[in-house]
Symmetry: C2
Subunit: 164 residues, 2 copies
């Protein structure tokens, strides 16, 4: 205990590879939530004036791979939440899988020290890289949780939260 | 790039102190979501047969400080999701603030190397400590996202997701 007070906490809790696995685990669950929606309800169902789950998934697609591209290349990407090709569940799932590959590819290009540097994501959001990536993940969990309510309201059992 | 391939990624992305701040930031937002509910709806409102947001908040209370106590002391706690005292919004918020302090206190007692050790949380969930804590946080974001839908369905504007 006294040791913990004397030594400032600066060492590793999570490595880059672990953070990637954590994110991809979440993305695999989100993919199953998209799959669980019937085609029509994915694009049209809504509660309380909120967006459809397809629109939320489009936002997640717009953030994930383009965000990681910026982390890897330093090149500022514009945030484009209107993914025009994402017009069917099948297409969204294909784009999801493509993003999975792109994230892995960009991730492998990121040197360790980059995770603690500042970044202006999409030219607008100033933060440290690891905070930015956690924000991407948190935002996904947040919207997916909303998708769970849509599914329950539609009488559909969502996939188990703990199963990644 | 070639460097990143040659060197395995093992260094720090997130320090323990940063992880604590990240969690407490989320907890402060969740507190404001609890506050945003009218008293009656906090305990009674539900969509699709799901639990009330009060019941979800009780689950979060049951996990957070007792979970951190186990991380700090190694003593196995039983998961008790029925927080009997949490019978009003005021009481839930008071328990929330008490948990905030307890989490900080236990956290200060955790030596750095502990975050990479395995733990059997609540005698049931086997995982590495940092994964366990991220699970607590993710579970909170998940249920809070559900609370956002409840609020929207009730015609109440939830606090901004990015404001911690």
């Amino acid at each position: 205990m006294e040791n913990a007070v004397a030594t400032p906490q600066t060492a590793s809790v999570i490595t880059p590879t672990e953070l990637l696995e954590h994110w991809q685990g979440h993305r695999s669950l989100t993919r199953r939530v998209i799959e669980a929606f019937p085609e029509k309800e994915l694009f049209e169902y809504s509660i309380g004036g909120m967006r459809s789950f397809a629109a939320m998934a489009q936002e997640l697609l717009a953030i994930a791979a383009p965000g990681m591209k910026q982390v890897a290349t330093g090149q500022i990407e514009e945030l484009n939440e209107e993914i025009k090709e994402a017009t069917s569940k099948e297409r969204i799932l294909a784009l999801w899988d493509q993003s999975t590959e792109e994230i892995n590819t960009y991730w492998a290009q990121v040197p360790e020290e980059r995770f603690r540097e500042r970044i202006l994501t999409f030219g607008k959001y100033d933060n440290v890289v690891w905070c930015t990536i956690l924000y991407f993940i948190d935002n996904e969990i947040h919207h997916r949780g909303q998708g769970y309510v849509y599914l329950r309201a539609l009488g559909i059992e969502p996939p188990a939260f703990w199963d990644r």
